[in-house]
Symmetry: C2
Subunit: 299 residues, 2 copies
């Protein structure tokens, strides 16, 4: 089955202590869509400006991503610029030019409206809800978010979470949302907001799933070198949803393995600037790292 | 087989946002010895003053810890006092009274000198070396340390690491020691200091083993409530060494499972002040959490 992915489609200018790369293909939907494409067909919903490089369209196409839902509008593509500190964990935003994103309203083509697997990648929660309003009855809806929306659009986010099967957020966001230091206490509060599945991302420390079947401690694949972590979280959730959409059996049966696959795609994402590394791998590379993770965690 | 454990034996006055507990049984050797006692006989080497409460001696005895190497000297027991912040991760030392510890020289009773499993729990590295100088040929030597020794006794520590089979330190200490942000790069440098096994502790994020057989990602047991994390690292390494000393087969075969057992004992340690919770559990409680960890990590 295919995955419908809505989110930002952007140009990212990224500075790390070692290098600087302007106007890379980025955005939550780009990372998630490429990650999901290793496992299932993907329908991308987003917006770019007329300045969006043709070669980036070609990257989507090489990953067989359905672009019927990608609007190309007069104006400039959303441009984000950020700088990482030496340890590659902390980053600061240098510049945000919304461009065509400012007035973006995602409109679903007819063919997208009955999608069964929906990933609402990081974007304003009102837009995430707007996408759901256009849909029939998806089998599984997951959403990611970011601290910005907790700060400026919390009521919108709380309306959205009621409609979600899975809510994915990072540990500092979980703390910000619940004011709880303890993970269990935070998870209890987040479940009460609606989602049956809550996934807390912890960067290089992996992630935690809380579900009706209990908890799962999902490891991160350890990396010799982190070149650029931008998009790792989006890759994680994209890979997870791509795997879920094609795996046979129930969500409960597959979600742990789906997270492992997502975790591995995220590891590749970190090894290159933007999508440079992820777009160079094959499913066999992913499978090899999943096998390695099995060995790294066996006891 | 028994484990010889040398380290600090102290009184800990601990303040958390929720409670304050003065003069608890503490010290690296106390935590490690009680943790190891669930798996194997323990010989404790340390020093206390005449003020050391008799009931704490009774706690050691209830855990069948051999106290022939515990000196009781005129003067005061080492007293440490610390305060935890709200998130229970950061703590600051309020007071350190060395007492009899100031002039402590660990002297091994004859019967201790041919111990096969030696844990040099956190204590000045010169004292850790002094213990090894009195020993015949231990089969497996592990040492823990703390940031203080990296700051004030680095040359001593670097002499010690050459003699170790296993070196255990936390992630910030590994960074301080190697100046490397990447874990693999840090591990490479630490192996060059001597130890075949390097274990990096990451608190609630678990730990990592680097060994000739490769890496192992060891999870932490997730806790509903952290009451007092003091001694968790000591409990981890104590439990690990206790398990190793009795497990049949090679170190390589057993060390991953040993870390899991250590991780579980550490989880109990965090659930009470000082050793309050750890001294109230049985091996069956530990086994149950190990089984749970198996389920929590399976995919």
């Amino acid at each position: 089955m295919s995955v419908l992915i809505v989110g930002s489609t952007a140009l990212d200018s990224i500075k790390t202590p070692k290098a600087e790369n302007p106007r890379l293909l980025g955005g939550s939907a780009s990372h998630a869509a490429v990650a999901a494409s290793f496992f299932s067909p993907v329908k991308l919903v987003g917006v770019v400006g007329e300045d969006f490089p043709k070669r980036y369209i070609q990257i989507y196409k090489r990953h067989r991503i359905d672009l019927e839902g990608l609007q190309i509008l007069p104006g400039k593509t959303f441009h984000w610029s950020g700088e990482y500190e030496l340890n590659m964990n902390n980053r600061r935003t240098l510049l945000t030019e919304l461009g065509v994103f400012e007035t973006f309203t995602p409109t679903l083509p007819k063919a997208h409206q009955n999608s069964q697997f929906v990933l609402l990648a990081n974007i304003a929660p009102s837009l995430q809800s707007h996408v759901l309003n256009q849909m029939q009855r998806p089998r599984f809806i997951a959403a990611d978010t970011m601290d910005l929306w907790l700060n400026i659009a919390l009521p919108d986010l709380l309306k959205l979470t009621k409609r979600l099967d899975a809510f994915v957020l990072n540990d500092s966001e979980a703390h910000q949302l619940t004011k709880e230091d303890n993970m269990f206490a935070a998870l209890r509060k987040i479940h009460k907001l609606g989602p049956k599945y809550v996934i807390i991302k912890k960067g290089s420390h992996g992630s935690i799933l809380s579900s009706p079947q209990g908890f799962f401690i999902c490891p991160a694949y350890p990396l010799h070198k982190v070149v650029d972590p931008t998009g790792a979280g989006d890759s994680f959730v994209g890979g997870m949803m791509g795997y879920l959409a094609t795996a046979k059996g129930s969500i409960d049966r597959n979600i742990r393995r789906a997270m492992i696959y997502g975790s591995v795609v995220a590891s590749f994402c970190c090894e290159g600037f933007g999508l440079n590394r992820t777009t160079g791998i094959k499913r066999s590379h992913i499978n090899a790292r999943v096998k390695e993770l099995e060995k790294l965690t066996r006891f």
